[in-house]
């Protein structure tokens, strides 16, 4: 055990040799970068361009997660087995999403339609749109809304 542990420790030292060291100064620098990224991810959507929103919101979330994993969790110097463990979880969730989203996200199929979901969309859009809120035109939609509205228990 001692030998393997020493090896593990050497990994750290070896890394420290070519990197800028995993010292407090480096950590604070990374933290500053993370904060800047946070500001960008909040300001991005203010432009109200969808592509920019997606990029700044989720692209930057990916970058932040990468930085935390690499610099704070030191996953870059961990043994491959750690990566396999984490990948197990991520891969299976990806698979879950891939197969289930086909069902949940489609509201229309060849011989079926998900009326409840459609009603929820119509009702939600009607309730959430302030411009449309007092209009008479959406009266029939409001009926649909009443039908699908959250049952207040």
């Amino acid at each position: 055990m001692s030998a393997s542990h020493a090896a593990h420790h050497d990994d750290h030292d070896g890394h420290a040799g070519h990197g800028a060291a995993h010292g407090p100064a480096r950590y604070i620098k990374i933290w500053a970068v993370l904060c800047v990224l946070l500001v960008i991810s909040v300001l991005g959507p203010e432009l109200e361009i969808q592509v920019v929103t997606l990029l700044t919101a989720f692209g930057i979330a990916g970058v932040k997660a990468y930085l935390v994993m690499k610099e704070f969790m030191h996953l870059d110097v961990e043994k491959p087995i750690i990566w396999y463990i984490l990948a197990t979880g991520v891969v299976f969730i990806g698979m879950f999403f891939a197969a289930v989203s086909v069902d949940v996200m489609n509201h229309d199929g060849a011989r079926w339609s998900n009326d409840a979901a459609k009603r929820a969309v119509v009702a939600g859009l009607a309730a959430g749109d302030p411009a449309n809120h007092h209009g008479a035109a959406e009266h029939h939609e409001a009926e649909g809304a009443a039908e699908a509205a959250p049952a207040q228990h």
Binding site: H8, T88, F92, D103, A120, A151
Partner: protein, 572 residues
């Protein structure tokens, strides 16, 4: 080590001392950290819960055979009680019998012994996992006695029936049921981490990955499967609990939720769960087949790869439970293919066990009989799965007694035949005494014949159109013809015979525990590490000197040696 604070250096000082620690009765039996006692706690709790599960089976089979009659020990059964009985029979048998016995009891008992360690890597976490499990068992039993009665929405708990007490009429029962299941998951997540890490890190010096006994591999693969599959259902359980208690609408179409999503969350866990309990059972069968036919396990690596293959494939088949639930028909095609595919690795595994028998010097001891019975009964379960996996046939057979018969031919071999295989084999190691072979064989033949008489008629009932959730068939004249009624009664009588034979086992188990002939360290002349320490092993298992491993676990009948087994820890 140049950095004194880094790492585990200090534990060297602590290790080794604990062998001298004198334990009180409470420390040893009530709050043990010793993996063997925690394993026994799981075993006995699981056996106790099996009494509940078996009693429910008895009650609703009596109702089906003689509708409306006064059932001895139960009384008259109402439709709500019937629903609660089938629901809790399924839930208890899977989560509180199969899982604790197959994974937790045998995992706890066997893994440290088989990898040559003195205990699990985290003994107190191990104790915590049992305590959480015990609480979950108490909660599920309590849920049967609350006002409104136990939850009756089937073990799959499909919403909206399970999500709203206006539908299921069991406001407390359904929430307690859900809490109990979620707690049970937490217990097995904690326990599973312990099993995996113990097998990964605490192996004896010299033990390569091909030297690890098959049952350890299987329990670890099963724990990983459980861990990777249960997460979405844990999240789903929280969501369903909010649906029940706070009236959110995650799965309620009236509020824009999607009930099919629960089915996906459930079966994404539910199908791998079958393999979570199957793999440890097959692992035990592998051990027993090799030891009792005095032959090296045929195709060690192939068995291992088929187990991993089965495990991975088991994540791609779940939607075959939902063919008629309104899922996308294109997905039904894909899931039909993957479902039929999964029979390949698992059939290959069974063939490898049969190949192990070939040319062996077979001893028909009780554990060996159980192992062979497993292969036979599981074959029926596997083969009848193919018509259910094909989406076209499944549309007719879905939710019929054909399905019941099919999964009982998989789950009975797994949960009971598998358990009896392991229990009769490792009983001498667990309790230091031998079980009675004659009683064991009586129990085996009585059980194996009765179980086939119980479930084979259900294939016929299912094909005739009996639906699994009907309380009283006399209301359906075309389904209660004398022929169908009679085979239903035959199945119920077989169940009574099956239950009666379990008393033979219970007597044998407890009598042998205290009065059986004292077992030697290695009564079966096996090579794996757990047989190289005293029976029962003391605290710390191997004494002061933990073993070193020199060879694989299945070195039987090696030419040129006077003994026909070669212990893993014996220097060459």
């Amino acid at each position: 080590m140049n950095a004194p604070a880094h790492g585990h250096d200090h534990v060297h000082d602590d290790g080794g001392h604990h062998h001298h620690h004198e334990m009180t009765f409470v420390e040893k039996y009530i709050f043990p950290t010793d993996h063997k006692y925690i394993g026994k706690q799981y075993l006995l709790t699981g056996m106790l819960m099996a009494v509940f599960g078996g009693f429910f089976a008895y009650a609703f089979r009596m109702q089906l055979a003689w509708p409306g009659s006064d059932i001895p020990l139960f009384g008259h059964m109402s439709p709500a009680e019937y629903n609660a009985a089938v629901t809790n029979h399924g839930t208890i048998m899977i989560f509180w019998v199969a899982m604790p016995v197959l994974i937790a009891a045998f995992g706890n008992f066997l893994i440290p012994l088989m990898v040559g360690a003195d205990d699990m890597v985290f003994p107190r976490l191990n104790r915590l996992s049992y305590q959480i499990f015990l609480v979950s068992a108490i909660v599920i039993v309590a849920s049967l006695f609350v006002p409104g009665g136990g939850f009756g929405g089937a073990w799959t708990a499909y919403p909206p029936l399970s999500g709203d007490s206006a539908y299921n009429l069991t406001p407390l029962g359904s929430s307690l049921w859900l809490v109990a299941v979620a707690l049970e998951f937490v217990a097995f997540l904690v326990g599973g981490i312990n099993f995996i890490v113990t097998a990964m890190n605490a192996r004896a010096p010299g033990m390569k990955w091909t030297d690890v006994p098959m049952v350890v591999w299987m329990i670890c693969i099963a724990s990983i499967l459980f861990m990777a599959s249960v997460g979405p259902l844990m999240a789903g359980a929280v969501m369903l609990l909010f649906d029940q208690t706070l009236h959110t609408g995650f799965f309620d179409p009236r509020q824009g939720g999607d009930p099919i999503l629960w089915q996906h969350l459930f079966w994404f866990f539910g199908h791998p769960e079958v393999y979570v309990v199957l793999l440890p059972a097959t692992g035990m069968v592998a051990e027993v087949v090799a030891v009792h036919s005095r032959k090296k396990l045929f195709g060690y690596k192939t068995i291992l790869f088929t187990a991993v293959g089965t495990g991975v494939l088991s994540f791609f088949v779940w939607a075959h439970h939902q063919f008629i639930a309104g899922i996308d028909p294109r997905m039904a095609n894909i899931f039909t293919i993957t479902t039929v595919l999964i029979s390949i690795p698992i059939a290959e595994m069974m063939f490898l066990y049969i190949a192990t028998l070939y040319g062996g010097s077979i001893r028909f001891t009780t554990p060996m009989l159980w192992a062979l019975g497993f292969i036979f009964a599981f074959l029926i379960g596997g083969v009848t799965g193919i018509p259910l996996g094909a989406s076209g046939a499944d549309i007719y057979l879905h939710d019929s007694y054909f399905v019941i018969a099919h999964f009982h031919f998989t789950f009975f071999p797994i949960a009971f035949i598998g358990t009896f295989t392991g229990l009769t084999h490792w009983f001498p190691k667990m309790f230091g005494r031998m079980m009675n072979e004659t009683l064991g064989k009586i129990h085996f033949w009585g059980t194996i014949i009765a179980v086939h008489c119980l479930f084979l008629p259900m294939f016929v009932l299912g094909l005739a159109g009996h639906h699994r959730r009907i309380y009283d068939y006399t209301n359906f004249p075309e389904l209660s013809t004398p022929f169908l009624t009679n085979i239903g009664i035959f199945a119920t009588v077989s169940l009574l015979v099956l239950l009666a034979f379990q008393f033979v086992f219970v007597f044998n188990f407890f009598y042998s525990m205290f009065k059986g002939p004292v077992a030697e360290a290695n009564p079966w002349k096996a090579g794996s590490l757990e047989w190289q320490c005293p029976s029962p092993p003391p605290h710390g298992n191997f004494g002061e000197h933990l073993p070193t491993v020199y060879r694989g676990p299945y070195e039987y009948s090696v030419p040129g040696r006077d003994k026909d087994y070669w212990p893993q820890s014996e220097p060459a």
